[in-house]
Symmetry: C2
Subunit: 151 residues, 2 copies
Amino acid sequence: MYYTIAQIAEKTGLTAHTLRYYDKEGLLPFVERSGSGIRQFKEIDIEWLAVISCLKDTGMPVKQVKVFIDWCMLGDKTLRQRHNLFLEQKKQVDAQIAQLKKYLKKINYKIAYYETALKAGTEKVHTSQKCRTQAKKKMLAGAKKKPAKRR
Amino acid sequence: MYYTIAQIAEKTGLTAHTLRYYDKEGLLPFVERSGSGIRQFKEIDIEWLAVISCLKDTGMPVKQVKVFIDWCMLGDKTLRQRHNLFLEQKKQVDAQIAQLKKYLKKINYKIAYYETALKAGTEKVHTSQKCRTQAKKKMLAGAKKKPAKRR
DNA sequence: CCTTGACTTAGAGCTAACTCTAAGTCGTAT
DNA sequence: ATACGACTTAGAGTTAGCTCTAAGTCAAGG
């Protein structure tokens, strides 16, 4: 049972244009064709596309994804490389999440800042910089000694 | 005490080129100039740049960051908009983190997959598809048996 | 005075990842 | 048979975000 490119576009959220682009870039060597050249996607190809999206959306450039796909096509002799690739990608994603969490803290601080300002009717409520100075003091103190609060 | 563009590039990790580009795009209206037009960055400008990087790195396009900066320059009458902007950005970042965590699970599964394959010396250890089939059963429990009529 | 080096500008060039166009083929429905 | 719509291709165009170049200004050191 085969899917057309339009059906796969529907299923994956990618456009048919993008799928052809990926194919042209060598990301879809596993997709079969009919006698007249029509792409015939199978269930398993949807799994391939999920892996491709995972790598791409976690920051891997298309060219490097192609390298991975090529390794897959080469079989067992590239197992080690592929294993390393995912270990490396895990590191990347861990770092991305850590960075986003830092930014989230900054955003939460800003939300609190604007809530205070809205209540006061003016941003000037912050210009004495009491808050900022105190926050700094807290952070500096926290950096020195780790609070033993766990569980 | 002022910093040159090169010193700020050093401190922020952005290039001097990029800082001029941001300025040209209207992101740095708060940066003062000397009589001869040299940018004079102050401590507070480093904080501005940290906020700009936070918004940009969490997915906000430069043009929308400019809108935010313009709001800041307009003073208290834009407090509500700025508050909303950060609430919205928080949603975005929460969603990004959630998506990355999903991808991380997929990557961890792949790492385990390749570890098993490496131990066995071949990927064929997975071709019985016991694991995958069982996972599918879980996920598809309820949505199965489509007549699936296709060319 | 002249050189050096950091800065200035406008604007061109680059890269990644699409996004679209034009011209053409194919398979089915009227 | 012919029209329709979905597919095919090569290749051009677009966008964001830089990245760099060329030509010029300016202040300090030899």
